[in-house]
């Protein structure tokens, strides 16, 4: 079965869910949730049989690629969506209260259908290799998220986040299309493969084409505009400003979805777009400088601003910015991989794979705590160790993994990022700056993650009652924590998925 059927099935599933929503009763959207989750899980079966589309279909092959990164990132998108739908299940009380009212599920059906559309967009992004298809897939995701962020229309925070996301998102779309326009204008194509060939040809023979090598400025101008809009997607400086506000305001499952799914999709697109520019001698040094600068600033801003935070969701937002910085560092240290070293693609994939488990786990914990305390503040975690030792332990492990403590899955991503950076620093001294900032960031990271651990264990509990964990959340948290620990000792399975 050609792989693009997967996206089609997902879209069809989404449409089915919308249809069901139209005919469902307003008391319970149980069926929609079950079908949505079940459908996506069922999709793993055709996924297993999917093959790359035939190469003779030239027009399609121009848009669509089905290689190892594509498979991995599709899987990532699928897994994230499934977990987010599970999370939405336990989040439904809060969602209902701020949508139509606490007693009815009226008007919340779309909340379980829309992530499926976003999932289709992310899966498409993993495969897109034409600026046009990238644009369309990306917009599918973005517009879906506008709705998901602003979904709780009775809560001002959600709406405010929605508007901020909308305006800044649209701004970044503007940059994206304007950048695409310039690149198209210079290279006469929107296909990344062709651009890659063009740049490669130029780098070996500067006189061949009409002077990209002689005057790469227009091309780089276009690239910088695209980079800005990608920085928006992955939450890198300077386009990171929306993240804390939107993460804080949006419904928690949406936040989790944004911070994992949307970011991962953004990174695969970033990798695909930057690939030709890193591979060419004409543009490599500028690309490295700008990506490195973004990486360094992102690490610095993300980690340092996280230090004074008091809201856990906001803390996770900054942490997500910080993680983006580390991933960018792995990209800035562009490496095509060899016998002993992962390529930048693989390092980023590895990072995001572990990041998914840890972050979703943390958001599950947040949902449980929020359900019990009605607050996202770090102080809501006070005395968690006494009130539910299992939850506290899992939260501690997940936070340690986020900080990048060894023997948790979270360590490897940073390990590879720094390894690549140091490897490349041999040839490009400028990378030491990124490494130095990276280490400052990791050290600061220990501080703010442990601040939550401190709340969990050091502080006295305001109430004595135990915190109950809903069934789904319990299974999810335990299995994600276990996965974090097991992969910490034995990370090989992720490598199988990446296909190194």
């Amino acid at each position: 079965m050609p792989a693009y059927w997967l996206e089609a099935i997902v879209v069809a599933l989404g449409l089915l869910l919308l249809l069901m929503e139209a005919f469902s009763n307003s008391k319970s959207k149980e069926l929609i949730r079950v079908v949505g989750i079940g459908g996506l899980i069922f999709l793993l079966v055709p996924f297993y049989f999917a093959v790359a589309p035939p190469a003779d279909n030239a027009e399609l092959a121009r848009f669509y690629v089905y290689d190892r990164p594509a498979i991995f990132f599709k899987l990532l998108a699928l897994l994230t969506t499934i977990l987010v739908l599970f999370m939405a299940y336990d989040f439904r009380k809060t969602l209902n209260r701020f949508t139509e009212g606490p007693d009815t599920e009226h008007g919340t059906g779309e909340y379980y259908a829309l992530p499926v559309f976003a999932c289709a967009g992310m899966m498409w992004m993993a495969s897109a290799r034409d600026l046009v298809s990238i644009f369309v897939a990306l917009e599918l995701v973005t517009i879906t998220f506008y709705i998901l962020v602003a979904f709780m229309n009775r809560q001002v925070g959600s709406l405010e986040a929605g508007v901020k996301f909308l305006i800044l998102g649209a701004l970044s779309t503007g940059f994206l299309v304007y950048g695409i326009a310039w690149i198209y204008g210079i290279t006469h194509t929107t296909n990344l493969e062709t651009i890659s060939q063009l740049l490669a040809a130029n780098s070996s023979n500067p006189d061949l084409h009409d002077g990209i090598s002689a005057n790469p400025i227009p091309l780089l101008f276009g690239l910088s505009l695209i980079l800005l809009s990608l920085a928006f997607k992955i939450g890198a400086v300077p386009m990171h400003l929306w993240i804390p506000d939107v993460y804080q305001g949006a419904p928690t499952p949406t936040t989790a979805f944004l911070s994992v799914g949307s970011k991962a999709a953004g990174f695969i697109v970033t990798l695909r777009i930057l690939d030709p520019f890193f591979s060419s001698d004409i543009t490599r040094s500028q690309t490295t400088i700008v990506v490195l600068a973004l990486a360094g600033l992102t690490i610095l801003v993300g980690n340092l601003t996280a230090i004074p935070q008091t809201n856990f969701k906001r803390l996770l937002a900054y942490s997500s910015i910080a993680h983006a910085g580390f991933i960018l560092l792995a990209i800035a240290a562009w490496h095509t991989g060899d016998d002993d070293t992962l390529s930048s693609y693989q390092a980023v994939a590895f990072y995001l794979g572990t990041y998914l488990l840890i972050t979703i786990g943390a958001f599950f914990v947040l949902v449980v705590v929020h359900n019990s305390e009605g607050s996202d503040n770090i102080s809501a975690f006070d005395g968690l160790g006494q009130r539910n030792s299992l939850l506290a332990l899992c939260a501690t492990i997940l936070l340690a993994a986020m900080a990048g403590l060894p023997l948790t899955a979270g360590f490897y991503g940073k390990f590879f990022a720094f390894q690549l950076a140091i490897e490349s620093a041999h040839t490009n001294q400028i990378l030491w700056w990124g490494i130095a900032l990276g280490f400052v960031g990791v050290a600061a990271g220990f501080y703010y993650y442990l601040k939550v651990v401190r709340a969990i264990y050091w502080r006295a509990a305001p109430k004595d009652d135990l915190i109950a964990i809903p069934r789904i959340s319990r299974y999810a948290i335990i299995s994600l924590t276990l996965a974090t620990v097991i992969l910490g000792f034995w990370p090989e399975p992720i490598l199988w998925l990446i296909g190194a």
């Binding site: 002993d340 340690a400 060894p406 720094f418 220990f446 050091w458 034995w490 090989e492 190194a500």
Partner: protein, 518 residues
Amino acid sequence: MTLALILLPLFAVIAILMGANPRAAARNATGMMLFAGLGLAALWALGTRTFLGVDFLVLSKPEIHLALNFFDGMSVIMMLLSVIVAYAAARTGDCEDRHAKLWNISLLLIAAGAVGAFLSTDLFFFYAFHELALIPTFLTIGILGRGDRKEIAWKVTIYLAFGSIILLAGLLWLIAASGTPDLSFESLLKCTVPVAAQRGIALFLLIGFGTLVSLFPFHSWAAPAYASAPAPISMLHAGVLKKFGLYGLLRLHPLVPIGMASWLELIIVLLLGNILWVGFVTINQKRLDSMLGNSSVMHMGYIFLAIAALIAAQSESANPIAKPAAILLMFGHGVTIAMLFGLADRIERLTGTLELRDLGGLAKQAPKLAFLFGLAAMASIGLPGLANFAGEVMVFIAGFKGWEPDTPPGWVQIATILSLWGLVISAVYMLRAFRHIFQGPTVEFTRNASDLSARDRSPAVLLAAVLLIVGLFPNILLQFLEQPEAVVAREQAHITQHPRPPQPAGSAPVQPHPSPSQ
């Protein structure tokens, strides 16, 4: 089989999480660890090499193995130190029931981390296991610590994290520069690192490991941490975990000999900072716990002195004394400081205070405690017959190994001479403490103190026995470091240089003694 040493504490942790009695689980697990550790060391000493280790490939690119084995005798000795101190730590101190879980889990995790780090023959897990202690340390100090516990917990954690990160940078650079095919020590040590990169790598390793070892001026975390942490945590941290950095330097310095040598002067200045600067800080301490904490920082300087001698000599064959000296001293110091912290905890429990000026005459009320503490204190100031002395004297000899009488003393010799003054300093504060706590007339706090019960005594007695055995027969440990070639070389050197042993006039036949030369 070495896997058992890691799994025992980890299983105990799981058992505690499942609801087992925390104290019993920790004690049983550490007891079994001690048993297994001694057994494994004995097997190793008897020449068994093949079935001791385990080796799992956990990542194929870059190639990382979860490989636990005795890489050489140094690993065996450090493993022994870990299990011995862990055994004693699990039997020292106590807490309220509601903290028993945290207390014992932390203890077990730190012990598992230490054993894991010393047994890993793979650079990755060597580094990773060490970090296992970070969060337990943070939590135990923050919740159960003495004094300004919250601030101290933060400081320790950030410091250790900082050190680990610098270290990670150094290790990654080392990996990149050496071009090793996998991360095992074996393949790593076969590589040569380009000279251009050595200087930077050496500096990173020095600062990274140095911070973990509380090398001056990265030392200010250690003393407050040990003073504040619950006794078993201090014991494990000061006694075992801190040796990780030294172990790492001893393990990795052959890879960057030129780089290390280029920082020799810096190392010497810093180690003198440990011995003299921190020594003076220690003299000025008013509480037993912070005095012990600072003294443990100070004594790291001696081990760095051995490392400096090794670095100056550029190779182990040029100065065969330095490395065994450092290892012996690490072992001795680990046991001693653990014993001191354990007994300090007892003193606090008996009298309710550790302020030196509030104490006095405790030897009258608690002669057994006084005997054990005195023994440990004497060990720590280098009394012969106890483990530390053998290490210290070898360190000093190592310091003079490279000296040519025709030339003025070099950096290492000057450092050795100044370090020797540290022996006076440590005698000053140790004896002062002993005098204040145990001697003189009894005072308010000590009037009603009772002596140690047999159960309270057992960990210290074990440690004391170890100190005595190693102190009287250091070769018990040093034999682990014997290279078979070295034995042959020594015998040959002896035959060629001294065909006949010198005989005092008119004496009976003299047994040949191998010459301690060259």
